[in-house]
Assembly symmetry: D2
Homo-oligomer: 290 residues x 4
Amino acid sequence: MKAGFIGLGIMGSRMAANLQKAGFDLVVYNRTKEKAEELVKGGATLANSPEEVGKQCRVVFTMLSTPEAVEEVALGRDGFLKELPGNSLWVDCSTVNPSFSQRMAQVALKMGHRFLDAPVSGSLKPAQNGELIFLIGGEAKDVDEVRPFLDAMGKAVNHVGPHGQGASMKMVNNMLFGQVMVAFAEALRLGTSLGISEETLCQTLMNSPGGAPFLKVKEQKLLTRDFSPEFPLEWMHKDLHLASVTAYEKEVALPALQAAKELFAMAKTAGLSEQDFSAVYEFINPKNSK
Amino acid sequence: MKAGFIGLGIMGSRMAANLQKAGFDLVVYNRTKEKAEELVKGGATLANSPEEVGKQCRVVFTMLSTPEAVEEVALGRDGFLKELPGNSLWVDCSTVNPSFSQRMAQVALKMGHRFLDAPVSGSLKPAQNGELIFLIGGEAKDVDEVRPFLDAMGKAVNHVGPHGQGASMKMVNNMLFGQVMVAFAEALRLGTSLGISEETLCQTLMNSPGGAPFLKVKEQKLLTRDFSPEFPLEWMHKDLHLASVTAYEKEVALPALQAAKELFAMAKTAGLSEQDFSAVYEFINPKNSK
Amino acid sequence: MKAGFIGLGIMGSRMAANLQKAGFDLVVYNRTKEKAEELVKGGATLANSPEEVGKQCRVVFTMLSTPEAVEEVALGRDGFLKELPGNSLWVDCSTVNPSFSQRMAQVALKMGHRFLDAPVSGSLKPAQNGELIFLIGGEAKDVDEVRPFLDAMGKAVNHVGPHGQGASMKMVNNMLFGQVMVAFAEALRLGTSLGISEETLCQTLMNSPGGAPFLKVKEQKLLTRDFSPEFPLEWMHKDLHLASVTAYEKEVALPALQAAKELFAMAKTAGLSEQDFSAVYEFINPKNSK
Amino acid sequence: MKAGFIGLGIMGSRMAANLQKAGFDLVVYNRTKEKAEELVKGGATLANSPEEVGKQCRVVFTMLSTPEAVEEVALGRDGFLKELPGNSLWVDCSTVNPSFSQRMAQVALKMGHRFLDAPVSGSLKPAQNGELIFLIGGEAKDVDEVRPFLDAMGKAVNHVGPHGQGASMKMVNNMLFGQVMVAFAEALRLGTSLGISEETLCQTLMNSPGGAPFLKVKEQKLLTRDFSPEFPLEWMHKDLHLASVTAYEKEVALPALQAAKELFAMAKTAGLSEQDFSAVYEFINPKNSK
């Protein structure tokens, strides 16, 4: 039987392509159909609605940008969930808040299906190269069942715990990325104000034990100020906001997160929303500052 | 001729021991003389004052905890600087503010000597294993002159730029460490509030591209809550304060640094000053919090 | 015809009592019926459900602690809204988020009624003394219609603008109170660390042009450390969180708000949730700190 | 005998004028002599150096912008202190850090003189109208001795405590002003983003118990965006920095202060240094933002 894939944006299109390359037969859906062209050429079936995906599959992957979009394709009027054959498996790879994932799991179970929250760590290039890291919440046996698919799209499968913990880990992970990016940007700001060149600072700090590995991926963006997006700044801001709201619900104080979040908010106001999230550097240390 | 080494604390004692092991003949001084015993057994000459160090050496290393202590041993009543033979070389490995290093360089030059600010990246273990990273400000030829010494104590010599830029780079480097430590502690806080274990969080985040390499060194401290100091929390707080004062002087805004700094300040108030700086985690996520 | 009053907590009970004192005939409802006793003695009719309130009134006041509670009494199974005679007027005095007020206004209009969001500035004592300040969103003619009621409960009626702007102004107002309280607490912290007594600091700062009038109301709490609640700390934290979420939606950066909010979050963690919000001082400057 | 007045800037010139108006005979000094013209016309003696002031007076007032400037006129080569007749009284009205005031007090005592730290609360207009508030550290009898002078320049004399506590109170006071200004600016930012006009917000919030009295003085600046300086933004930033450094020395954490301070730092970077400190609003809510 075929596997469904809904959501063919920056990430989803590349993930689906890797599934196809690994030999999986796909039914795909995307609001903008043009984005499915390559996959259709490769043999995928194009569905006219999420519903049609549901009719042809026992496993469906979703990769969308907001909880609202996920809810719409799953439970909306044309949603796929009501069409799935009994005991199907829905794998949501979108980055959403843990309580949303838990609710989706409950809805799916009530309808006789199974659910995994399986967001990914890694952006454009890892998606393209099949080197994503899956952070999964749900039943171990369900993870095992879809492992062949996941292996085609990623290099590691982390089964974190029960439903919602994939989403939780993803949120925590992005929060770390966001704060580290800001910390590095501030370090460059102070360093350049002291007369050290950006090149020397990157060279030294990225090779120091304090330099997180992903920073090297951002080095060229920082040095050339070409912040073409791999993971847009407004998405990072959204994720930090999500973490902040979750912290409130859990009665946890995270002051440094808040300070970093507001810098992304100011960077948005300065017009950097659609740039890569490393463009927070352009706000913190504008190109023409001394 | 002999090399002088002043300041035999946690770091200095291990650095001097590595110099001795590499065959260098040392004259050492420390306020508490007991700390020199091992070195003296190994053949080092114990000086009764910084002055006496100055009389016997053309190269002097200093490794002290504050600018005030450095100034005292160099320029105080018993200071070594006035006793050095002409054109000697003073290498200050202490972590101090850049403007202090620049002032010391000027004083040394005026007295006919040369100066390097050469603070180190790395704490207890790298000091012990000769794996420190030197971040140096000063003249290239002077760096070359002391390279054999530096190679005995460290694994890398970064000549950053003119006088003061070694100290500058060190400050920027520590600022990055401090902020990343706080970001990681907050990530663990949020993750555990969502029901994920500290072990799983460390495992996942430390191996994620967002996890700076030094965090692995702290893993056992975080998991066991045994924060025996490698780099005491109050020193990190001091360094972040230093960065903050420098930012003010340079008219640079660093809001995320401030938020991290205040968390270290609160951790101090909570009695964690003399623990390792990773003990900021104990403040952010107390052992018995839910 | 009678006026309905739903929600007889700290604030509501006192507001209803002032309506009664002014001669208005009331139908009251509260989940815990005991709280209605005094009013019933005074002549009020006790309803067994919100529904019963709706059947007997053309004007209904609600004063509840969360949007969820408001929605339940208005639109729940026993909600009053569906029972009101046509073109009735619902005045919600609860502190809720502006978008919730706007939604309630729309729902009421659709059902053929009118709505005012009319939260109040002022806590226990102003409620008791009929000295509240109403901040109102809605139609001017509706404000005029209920002005006699409002005058019985408050000393000023501010018609801010269209639906939602009463709630908006209230949120902005509470945000100011929260930040000013934190600022004052930090000022006392720094001042006492410099050896000035709390009494002298309060005396000087509260009479300085920088001292907001409400601080004098808090003086005794600060000096005696008896933080019996007028406006509980967890409510202030909730309101600052609300402001923070609204700021995210409006793409506005408010870094100082965030710093203040996290101090309330930490105060909650320290067990001060149910104390007055001025107890943030106890967190910032614990009684036994030097 | 005459009274000395050194420092005739925005504040000092007006304070000296009020002394003169009250009938005191002055010897004045200012680096830029033009600023003394009016006073000289009024009968004041113009000194060519601080030294000359010292030779003619037993009471000297200083009103300068930095500790360095104060130290220079008092203790520099041409300093007045060494010239004063025995047991003279030096009243420093400058805003400086408490430890500096304490040091000046010690120096003065050692030289056989007396000292008061007597900074003022209030800016241009209160200085002009003789409505300043003096915050004084030192001996009560010395305060009494100069009370006639102080009464000519101000409307209140607060004797806070021993040497340094005048400066301490002033620092704490300015910290409150700075944070409240930021809180108000953020409140306006959120309010306007919700569609409420600046006029309505000012009207409501300034008359709310949360509105500090000084805000009304700033209303026109906020509404017209004409931030001509009464107390320049860079001075406020300096004072908050001073408070921050003092907090570090006293081992006190003040996170909300830091967040406010960094907003002033960003406002400086945005070119607002020389505007009134209320211009932090222009940074937080730029005129053309939605």
